[in-house]
């Protein structure tokens, strides 16, 4: 009876400390009234009903998908782009855990959290896009092993689980569960190996999907090596996302970082910029190699050629030079600009492959419906809100000092 009373006394304080950030409920609710939250609320107020409407009325009523365009924004953006932009998780994880680049330790947790949230949102988007989402279990029991999509289904499933397990390290720190925290922390090395393995496979397999569309995907984008392009650009996206995220996090969560051991974010950015320059240039070179190999030079002077050049020169070559210049002359802002451009370029690439340059010979065109756009926006918003909610509570931007018993 006595213990019941202490539990009853403890519970509200736990809730107040851990969930309400130490505020009383009215204070906490008042603290949510900010302009950005208002924007998020509007996006969700439109997007969530659209998502419900898709399940109530079907794909035909909610999307502009057609017989010629079976894949639209939800695959091209939510899935293709969501997954590639979440590549920071395995890129930084591998740098810290496997390559021993300890200086990136401070950004490992945010990168893993971004990846986890990103994958969960991509899967939600996928479930909205699938015509018969309840049959998704068939991918497990009814292995179509000759399909790149089968590989993706398995890897995304496994990798999301790995990310969840990696995320439990800060989660248990937050809850103060020492014993299991120690176990998970020891498992981190093995989980990182798995994360690199699964990421290599599905990031490249997302490109392999289009190997089956040689007549439909424009020759400037179609290449037997498209899966290598997808993998290299995933690493590039991972590096660039971490730079941008680092910049935003340190501004947005400045108060959260007060009193924590100082991390030289600028030095990290420069270090990532060096890596970005090399990977971006390699990616540009490979893309050019793809054009040579596909004898697609002639198309460069067409409208699609302009689209391709904007993507590869404007958003790969130029940022790679900016990265190199910025890293060499320690111009942090230039590196951040290069990162933002690179991300835009990779989003553009995924949309080009799956929407704009797809069906290039077919007069039918696809443009997403307003409902597709609002669902995609809502998913991104939910991701950002979830990220913020967790960062404000759990030890993501730093390790809980009570737990950093090593070194």
């Amino acid at each position: 009876m006595d213990s019941a009373r202490t539990a009853a006394l403890e519970q509200p304080s736990f809730f107040r400390e851990k969930i309400l950030l130490g505020m009383s409920l009215p204070d906490y609710l008042r603290s949510l009234l900010t302009p950005w939250n208002a924007v998020a609320a509007v996006i969700l107020a439109i997007g969530v009903p659209c998502l419900i409407y898709r399940f109530a009325a079907g794909l035909g009523a909610s999307t502009n998908l057609s017989q010629a365009y079976p894949w639209g924004l939800w695959i091209g953006f939510d899935m293709m782009t969501g997954v590639v932009l979440a590549a920071g998780g395995f890129t930084i994880g591998a740098s810290v855990q496997l390559l021993g680049l300890k200086e990136f330790h401070a950004i490992e947790r945010p990168a893993i959290l971004t990846a986890f949230v990103g994958y969960v949102m991509a899967v939600v988007g996928l479930l909205a896009d699938l015509g018969r989402p309840w049959n998704i279990v068939m991918a497990v029991v009814n292995a179509g092993s000759a399909s790149a999509l089968f590989e993706i289904a398995w890897c995304v499933m496994c990798y999301t689980t790995v990310l969840l397990l990696e995320f439990t390290v800060p989660f248990f720190e937050w809850l103060g569960w020492r014993r299991i925290h120690t176990v998970m922390k020891k498992a981190l090395l093995a989980l990182t190996v798995l994360s690199v393995m699964f990421s290599t496979m599905h990031q490249s397999a997302l490109g392999s999907l289009f190997l089956l569309a040689p007549t439909k995907l424009h020759p400037l984008w179609y290449s037997p090596f498209i899966f290598i392009f997808f993998f290299i650009s995933a690493i590039l996206a991972g590096i660039s996302m971490v730079i941008v995220e680092c910049a935003i996090s340190h501004k947005v969560f400045a108060r959260r970082l007060e009193g924590q051991p100082h991390v030289d974010a600028d030095r990290l950015t420069i270090g990532l910029g060096k890596a970005g320059a090399i990977v971006a240039f390699a990616y540009f070179f490979l893309k050019m190699q793809g054009v040579v190999d596909g004898h697609a030079w002639g198309y460069l002077l067409t409208g699609y050629g302009a689209l391709f050049l904007v993507e590869t020169v404007g958003f790969v070559l130029v940022p790679s030079l900016l990265y190199a210049y910025g890293a060499r002359h320690e111009k942090v802002r230039l590196v951040k600009l290069a990162a933002a451009m690179t991300i835009a370029g990779i989003v553009f690439n995924r949309l080009n492959v799956s929407v704009f340059a797809f069906n290039w010979q077919n007069p039918a065109r696809y443009w997403p419906s307003w409902m597709e756009v609002s669902v995609s926006l809502a998913l991104v918003t939910v991701g950002v809100l979830a990220f913020r909610w967790i960062v404000n509570r759990m030890p993501i931007l730093f390790e809980d000092p009570a737990f950093s018993n090593h070194e």
């Binding site: 794909l59 035909g60 018969r132 991918a139 790149a148 089968f150 439909k216």
Partner: protein, 297 residues
């Protein structure tokens, strides 16, 4: 040292095994067995455009009857979720009409079935490419993969299905020809063994070399298809897709799909090696630092 060699042999063995298993899985295009499968020869020079095949198809598949009226007035039509075959009109070389028939080509190594992650689409050993909605999760990758734009999706439905010609698999199982062939009054459609139809097609081309295009459409397209076409107008004109690669589609992706066994066997030892290397480097650095301190002390 001995341990390293042993683990190397283990990795190499697993890798080689995985690669072999995968290469055994990939289909190698049309084989002698495939040629004995059933096929249909479409001779566009013999088609009179009566659209009896459309009506018979609708009846056999419980679909609404095709629209009535003159083909010229109906305009260009395509297959839909409720019309598995359609006839389109085009101009003949010396004036007059030519008709093109569209339906599923029933590839020997179908792109759709290889794309399907849940094996809802299957190439039956008896020839037809069929679809099972109870397995389908609705990813629509089959539609992306099909070079002939055949699979159609019921976007309006809450439990949408992929819809397409079944090669009348149920009828064939009863020993009957496909409904469209049975209904054809002009001899434009011939049902038979694929290898016999190929011979017949070539016999017709050699018999009237000035008339026919010197190629059988479907002999090599996408690795070979069950529906074969001969024509006296360019194949594109009767609605057939130009530029379809001759490679069987599953082979287009076989190389990339060979990567996972390699990644799964090579990455862990490689990454652990990198880890061991970086750890050793740290240790050496630490020891050197300690050593220096001792010297100073």
């Amino acid at each position: 040292m001995r341990l390293t060699r042993r683990s190397f042999i283990r990795v190499a063995g697993v890798t080689a095994g995985g690669t072999l298993a995968l290469s055994a899985q990939a289909r190698q295009g049309s084989t002698a067995d495939d040629d004995r499968l059933p096929g249909v020869l479409v001779d566009t020079t013999r088609c009179v455009g009566c659209r009896g095949c459309e009506a018979a198809c609708a009846e056999a598949n419980d679909l609404p009857a095709p629209p009535e009226g003159d083909l010229a007035k109906l305009g260009r039509r395509d297959t839909t979720t409720r019309a598995f075959t359609v006839i389109n009109r085009t101009d003949a070389p010396g004036g007059g009409d030519r008709f093109g028939k569209k339906q599923c080509m029933h590839c020997l190594a179908p792109a759709c079935a290889s794309a399907c992650p849940v094996r809802a689409l299957n190439k039956l050993p008896t020839g037809p490419v069929t679809y099972d909605p109870s397995k389908c999760m609705g990813c629509r990758y089959c539609m992306v993969a099909c070079p002939f734009d055949v699979p159609r999706y019921e976007y309006e439905a809450l439990a949408p299905r992929v819809r397409k010609c079944t090669f009348c698999a149920p009828r064939q199982a009863r020993g009957l020809p496909p409904a469209c062939v049975e209904a054809c009054p002009s001899g434009a459609l011939t049902f038979g063994r694929r290898h016999e139809l190929l011979e017949e097609a070539k016999r017709r081309i050699y018999g009237e070399p000035d008339r026919y295009v010197h190629r059988v459409y479907g002999e090599h397209e996408a690795g070979g298809t069950s529906f074969l076409y001969v024509s006296d107008v360019p194949f594109e004109q009767v609605g057939l897709q130009a530029g379809v690669p001759e490679k069987p589609y599953p082979e287009l992706v076989a190389g990339a799909l060979g990567a996972p066994p390699l990644v799964m066997t090579l990455w862990p030892p490689l990454l652990m090696g990198l880890y061991a290397f970086s750890k050793r480097r740290d240790e050496v650095e630490r020891r050197e630092a300690d050593g220096k301190e001792e010297h100073h002390g």
